[in-house]
């Protein structure tokens, strides 16, 4: 009886206040989409880090012929110099930090380049124009500086590059995007909270007669307040569900289909990640509606 009554009142309230309820749905939808996007961007960063940091290597570029850099003024690296560098990496004090050393010859570099090249530039080059290098895989990528110090400045070394640096710009961009999304989400959430407060207030005002009679005949405070709370919670949750749907669709079709086919070597967030975020979004919606109800209802439906 009571449950039926409560849900009947919720349905009535939503119908009577349908435009307000719709605006609550839309505002929570947009704000939670931003919240979810921020979370997914962070998850993407995490994915990329674990995926790439495992693969990244330190590249020790060896002096090519006709190099312009001062380190290579003496000309191309000699076989002896190359052997010295290998020794430092494999037998020197830093050998503990090194997991594997791989030598990439000019020819191999050229082959690798040709494979990745899809603009036909490789046709203009020859293997001799490429640069041979040591690819060093570290036990712990964080120890890059130590290894770098050990070999940088040795004769025949052109440059030492930590591949992580290539990604740091991307991560900076993604982090900035997170901040923007989170800031927008914050403003939208505030708006959503205020809007829910207003909606509940309007709803409570429009049902003053009912609640006055309910107080008079002695219904419990829970029964008086529950319909209003559930109304807000329902509208907000619906917004959250839409937000999950929007995120799911973007991950599936934008990231999964489009982005993956154009840039395929990156690990992307997937639908499962959206489902991880989803319960939190719904929880935020319910908490928001709950907080708004507590603020509003005390005043309008007191015993």
């Amino acid at each position: 009886m009571r449950l039926k009554f409560i849900f009947g009142e919720v349905a009535n309230g939503l119908r009577r206040n349908s435009t307000m309820a719709l605006s609550v749905v839309l505002v929570t939808f947009v704000s939670l989409t931003f919240v979810g996007a921020a979370a997914l961007i962070q998850m993407q960063i995490g994915d990329l880090k674990s995926d790439w940091y495992g693969k990244v290597e330190v590249t020790i570029g060896l002096c090519p012929e006709n190099a312009r850099s001062t380190q290579c003024a003496a000309g191309s690296v000699t076989a002896d110099q190359q052997e010295q560098i290998r020794k430092v990496l494999e037998e020197g004090p830093v050998s503990d930090l090194v997991e594997k050393v791989y030598f990439e010859s000019k020819e191999e570099a050229f082959e690798n380049y040709k494979r990745q090249d899809n603009q036909g530039i490789s046709d203009l080059l020859t293997a001799d124009q490429m640069q041979s290098s040591f690819r060093v895989k570290l036990n712990d990528p964080e120890q890059f500086q130590v290894v770098s110090d050990a070999v940088a400045g040795m004769p025949g070394v052109d440059y030492v590059q930590d591949q992580r640096e290539i990604f740091s710009q991307l991560f900076k961009f993604l982090n900035a995007a997170t901040v923007v999304a989170a800031a927008l989400a914050g403003i939208m959430l505030l708006t959503a909270g205020l809007l829910i407060t207003t909606t509940i207030r309007l709803s409570a005002m429009s049902r003053r007669r009912e609640t006055a009679i309910m107080r008079m005949v002695g219904s419990s405070r829970t029964l008086i307040q529950a319909p209003f709370m559930l109304e807000g919670a329902f509208a907000a949750s619906l917004g959250a569900i839409f937000a999950v749907g929007a995120l799911y669709a973007s991950v599936r079709y934008v990231v999964g289909d489009w982005l993956k086919s154009s840039v395929s070597w990156v690990a992307y967030v997937n639908e499962a990640d959206v489902m991880v975020v989803a319960p939190y979004l719904i929880a935020i919606a319910v908490a928001l509606a709950g907080a708004a109800s507590v603020v509003t209802l005390g005043k309008y439906t007191r015993a």
Binding site: M1, I213, M216, S219, L223
Partner: protein, 230 residues
């Protein structure tokens, strides 16, 4: 049933008290008229009984409960012991007669079969049998007040508070309402009725309690509206 011990109520600090040191006892089954001009403290008196307001001073006991010590969460349970009827009926305009009465039972969690058996019985008692499906605006003022009384009494509370129940009704209709209240009183229900209607008070010859400027100036068995007119 209702007892006031030296009760005072001051709304704003320093203001003249709305009620000043009222002591009064109303027994089970009494029918009491509460009279006095506007601003005499009648409304405050009723609000204190309903625990819509709390006394500034003094003790109030209603239906076996000490209201000063009644915690907020017990108030709903307490209100089920009191039926209330108002001058403006306070019916829900979009609900039928039946639904208006049933509403009072629904919202205190009564089972459907109890509602289905009690509501027609109550509508019969107040003389509205056959008008269950009407909406309030399709009824006369007197009939609307009967619906309100049915709603107040449907849970058989031991106390019925009536605040100017005939205030919006013509004299003929008022007599019918008073007969109904008298009948309810004869079932053992304590009835306390605030009113301006001197004819009714004079006709009924019940106990009369008069307030004036927040003071209890008269408490008379089988009284009339104004002493000066006797």
């Amino acid at each position: 049933m209702i007892r006031f011990d030296n009760v005072s109520k001051v709304y704003a600090r320093g203001a003249k008290p709305a009620l000043d040191d009222i002591s009064l006892e109303i027994e089970r089954g009494d029918f009491v008229f509460l009279v006095g001009s506007s601003g005499s403290g009648k409304s405050t008196f009723l609000k204190l009984i309903l625990r819509e307001e709390r006394p500034t001073d003094g003790e109030i006991y209603v239906a076996g409960r000490h209201l000063n010590r009644l915690s907020n969460w017990r108030v709903p349970q307490f209100r089920r012991e009191i039926g209330a009827v108002f001058q403006d009926f306070r019916l829900l305009p979009n609900k039928t007669v039946y639904q208006n009465v049933a509403f009072a039972l629904q919202v205190i969690g009564k089972k459907r079969h109890i509602i289905n058996s009690t509501v027609p019985e109550m509508l019969d008692l107040v003389g509205l049998a056959g008008k269950e499906k009407r909406l309030p605006h399709e009824l006369s003022g007197g009939e609307q007040q009967r619906v309100a009384i049915a709603r107040a009494f449907v849970n058989h509370p031991p106390i019925l508070l009536c605040d100017e129940p005939t205030g919006n009704l013509d004299p003929g209709t008022s007599v019918g309402i008073m007969r109904l209240l008298d009948r309810i009183n004869r079932t053992g229900t304590t009835v306390l009725m605030a009113t301006h209607d001197d004819e009714i008070v004079d006709q009924m010859r019940k106990r009369v309690v008069e307030l004036k400027g927040g003071h209890l100036v008269r408490d008379q068995d089988r009284g009339v509206y104004g002493l000066e007119r006797v």
